[in-house]
Amino acid sequence: MNPDYRQLLSALLPEASLVLGALIVLGVDLFAGRQRAFAPRVQLSSWLGLLAIAIAIYHAIGASPAAANFGGVFAFDALARAARVGVLLLAGFTLALLPGTSRLAHPAEYVAILLFATCGFTLMASAQQLLVAFLALELASLSLYVLAGFDKSRPESAEAGLKYFLFGGISAAFLLFGFSLIYGLTGSIEFTEIAQQLRVQPTTPLLVVAVVMILVGFGFKAAAAPFHLWAPDAYQGAPATSAALIASASKLAGFTLFVRLLWHGAGPAAGSVSSFTGAPGWLPVAAVIAGLSLLLGNIAALAQSNVRRLLAYSAIAHAGALLLGVIAAGSAGPAPLFYYAATYGLATIGAFGVIAMIDRISPCQRITDLAGLYRRSPLLAGCLFVYVLSLAGIPPLAGFFGKFAVFAAALKISGLGGPIGWLAVLAILLSAVALYYYLVILKQALVVPPANDAPRIAVPALAAITLVVVAALLVVLGIFPSRILTLF
């Protein structure tokens, strides 16, 4: 087939804007930024980056769903469009938190790498072929490793970058091994072709190995137990904005890619979780990973005294719930999963944003570092209240409806007749456990008085607007979830 390169370019305009934007940020900083003071350099780079993201969003919305898919390489369907816009927005919010919070050297490089990572995310959101999927994933991952270790003044940041890199590298190897087995079995790297081939093949042990390899790689990326070990250290050591990106846009893109890969590509090898004697396949494996993540994330989070590690374990628990969404996407479509992942990303960006703001004054690591936030900055305290309660799943915030939709979809598969229904019930009951550690955070921020010498926290205007917009989105999307559900 002869691909039409002009069409390809028009479909990939968002990615082109991001790459071009990254290069411009680097170039402008090289020629105009070096001699300036630090603050305007950060401002300039961030605004250029935001402009690039805005243009990318414009093109991503405008991309026609019916655009050619270039021999099955890309899928520009409703999910791809929603996920592209979603990751771009999440990356934009992260970037908007940067000016005034960051004391990182080389701001232009930071912004540029963030844009490259975002480009990886948008490609992941629309990839429909193993090679493109892997390249997009690696572009995003390699950028994220650098972002995690970007703070050269703190050894913890280097540790975070290294650990994230080592675990990520291993997971990439697993993933590639799984991809190559799939290619060997089906003779194709396109999802639709793979599905067609698998439909006529019996489930061989080799196929199971291949799919399990892919799930292992996926588990690493999503920080699902038992592949979660990098997450607490990475969240703790990485600069707060990097952690926010790892936990939000990266997750949304990853789950979009894998729900497409697993259902569109490996769908015939799904097996069944609707009864206890269901067919083997990747669904039972995913269910086990989901259950482990829910249990381990929620229980380990109870013991944390470091707020970033607590958020990491909460992320592991949420990964378990998101995996339920992946499992349920086969019958309910990707809408509940997308809603959950997007609103979870918003709440996490907000939480890390608040941590970043406190970090400007004094290090914010322990939960007690949040003490008296209501007096140090009522704005931050109010926003944190919304984010944390959304993570906890309290209505009318978006986190509640996300959980509700995912669990309803999971229970609809077979009621309590199979493991999937019981997993949903487990997740619902564990949400009562989760409320404990979320309230521990809020108790420090809203109830405990500040230390005597704790100064007030001034929030830069752009960051303040971003935090308020994120909080408002959580409220509005929570009350009107149909706005998202009808996108699909």
Binding site: Y374, F404, V425, L429, L439, T486
Partner: protein, 511 residues
């Protein structure tokens, strides 16, 4: 009548306004809160004035909300809802009057208070299970902050325990509702539709679903043995929050049992009926006996709440129209009386004497120092014991008569519970208000006292403020009015039990 949803909107708007006003001055926040609560109460009473009792929920607002999942924004009311809405209106106004002395972060206090009230109104007016659940959870979180920030004894522990118990209960409810929704095909959360779908469920499913949903709501209603959050939470809470907790929030649980669990899963209800009755009786008697030996004034009231809520649950378990209407009347009555009791203990007495230990209070002749508090407490105590002329009497009598029809044995045990209630109420009245200054001459057995308070009775206490008097008079008026004319409420409640949904729940309905 159609204005009833405004009780919800006014309360939430008032919460935001109180927060804004509180940033300027504490007194602005107080007046905003009071005006909000009164406005909502006016709406509620106006609706009550043109309410025509009848079977079934009368729709107030019904529009699609999340059509993808069959969820509607459906508010409706019947006589049961209306009774509890009126209770909420009274408790809200009184609660704000009794928190007039909150000086620290006043705006935030009233914002949380009004958000809680808004959620409570919402629960009582919801006709869609999803909507009901959303309001139910909105009402949970403010409690944590109200107690953890403005509370007293062991407040962080009490707050966390209370919220985790409530939330664990609501998780059970959510699991049950989602399971029923999925089993029924996942098309609607309307209570009527769910009940219709549930009629096709197997007996085992009905039994499981009822257990989940009833237990989940029952935790908040103080169902024995899951009541332990209530005394610690009540004691830790600031006065207004204890008033709301005992007065209104525990009713949310009982209301959920009555509105959701029983009509949706009648087969399951039949299976669990005698278990619930046994647990309710155990709660009445056990909590009453515990209240009899408490050293802390507020713990006595806390356990008495559990005991009185046991009557509500017993009335529900008896499953006939008389007993259930008595249970709803008891919800109203206990809401008013518990509010009064907590107001006297937490606000009028504790804020002045700074002790709740009965051993200390005994040395203070409070009937001379604080005659208004003593009078209020005696009246509330009489009402609580079930004296004729107060709302407690028709409520408990109706429950006993109804229960007798189902099982005379249950009624006999419950009557024993009334005696115990009289005993612990008289004991605290005697010790705390009519004690003697001479410890050795005390007629009651010596109590352990950890703070020797010599000459404390010589202290002068600040006079009872106008806000306290107004709040107390409001609640006393309500309990006396309903005590003398229980028919006003019963005429609303009885027809509501004639609806098809409720009839299915009350299979043994009296002819």
């Amino acid at each position: 009548m159609n204005a009833l949803p405004w009780t919800i909107y006014i309360s939430f708007a008032g919460a935001v306004l109180a927060l804004i006003a509180g940033a300027r001055s504490a007194s602005a926040a107080r007046w905003v809160a009071l005006a909000t609560a009164i406005a909502a109460a006016v709406v509620a009473f106006a609706a009550a004035a043109d309410f025509s009792p009848g079977p079934g929920l009368q729709a107030l607002k019904d529009v699609p909300w999340i059509p993808e999942m069959g969820i509607r924004y459906h508010l409706a009311a019947d006589g049961i809802s209306l009774t509890l809405v009126i209770l909420t209106a009274l408790a809200a106004v009184a609660g704000i009057l009794f928190s007039w002395n909150i000086e620290e972060r006043t705006g935030e206090f009233f914002a949380l208070f009004l958000a809680l009230i808004g959620g409570v109104y919402g629960v009582f007016l919801s006709a869609d299970a999803f909507l009901l659940f959303v309001f139910y959870e909105i009402a949970i979180v403010p409690k944590y902050f109200l107690i953890a920030k403005w509370g007293s004894t062991n407040r962080e522990y009490g707050a966390m325990k209370l919220v985790l118990y409530s939330f664990a209960g609501s998780a059970l409810v959510l699991a049950g509702l989602l399971w029923a929704y999925a089993l029924g095909g996942g098309t609607s959360f309307a209570l009527g539709d769910l009940a219709q779908a549930a009629s096709a469920f197997s007996r085992g499913e009905q039994i499981g679903l009822f257990a989940l949903v009833f237990l989940g709501f029952g935790v908040l209603a103080g169902l024995f043995p899951f009541h332990t959050w209530a005394p610690t939470g009540h004691v830790a809470a600031p006065t207004a929050a204890s008033m709301l907790l005992a007065g209104v929030v525990m009713k949310l649980g009982a209301y959920g049992c009555l509105r959701v669990a029983m009509p949706l899963f009648p087969v399951g209800f039949e299976f669990w009926q005698s278990t619930i009755a046994a647990l309710a009786l155990a709660g009445i008697i056990y909590a009453g006996l515990i209240a009899l030996v408490q050293d802390d004034f507020k713990f006595v009231i806390g356990y008495s709440s559990v005991s009185h809520m046991g009557f509500v649950l017993l009335g529900l378990a008896a499953a006939n129209a008389r007993a259930v209407s008595g249970a709803v009347l008891q919800m109203f009555s206990h809401g008013v009386i518990a509010g009064l009791l907590f107001a006297v203990v937490g606000r009028m007495v504790y804020e002045r004497t700074h002790t709740r230990q009965l051993a200390d209070l005994r040395t203070m002749p409070l009937h001379r120092k604080l005659p208004f508090a003593a009078l209020t407490f005696v009246l509330a105590g009489l009402a609580s014991m079930g004296m004729p002329g107060f709302s407690g009497f028709p409520a408990e009598l109706t429950i006993l008569i109804g229960t007798w029809k189902t099982s005379p044995l249950w009624a006999a045990f419950a009557a024993g519970g009334i005696l115990i209630a009289a005993a612990f109420t008289l004991r605290v009245i005697h010790i705390s208000f009519f004690g003697t200054t001479d410890r050795s001459a005390s007629p009651v057995a010596p109590l352990a006292s950890n703070t020797a308070a010599p000459a404390m009775h010589e202290l002068h206490y600040g006079p009872i403020t106008w806000a306290e008097k107004a709040g107390a008079l409001l609640l006393i008026g309500a309990t006396v009015y309903v005590g003398l004319k229980p028919d006003v409420l019963l005429n609303w409640i009885m027809p509501a039990l004639e609806s098809p949904l409720m009839r299915a729940a009350l299979k043994q309905a009296t002819p």
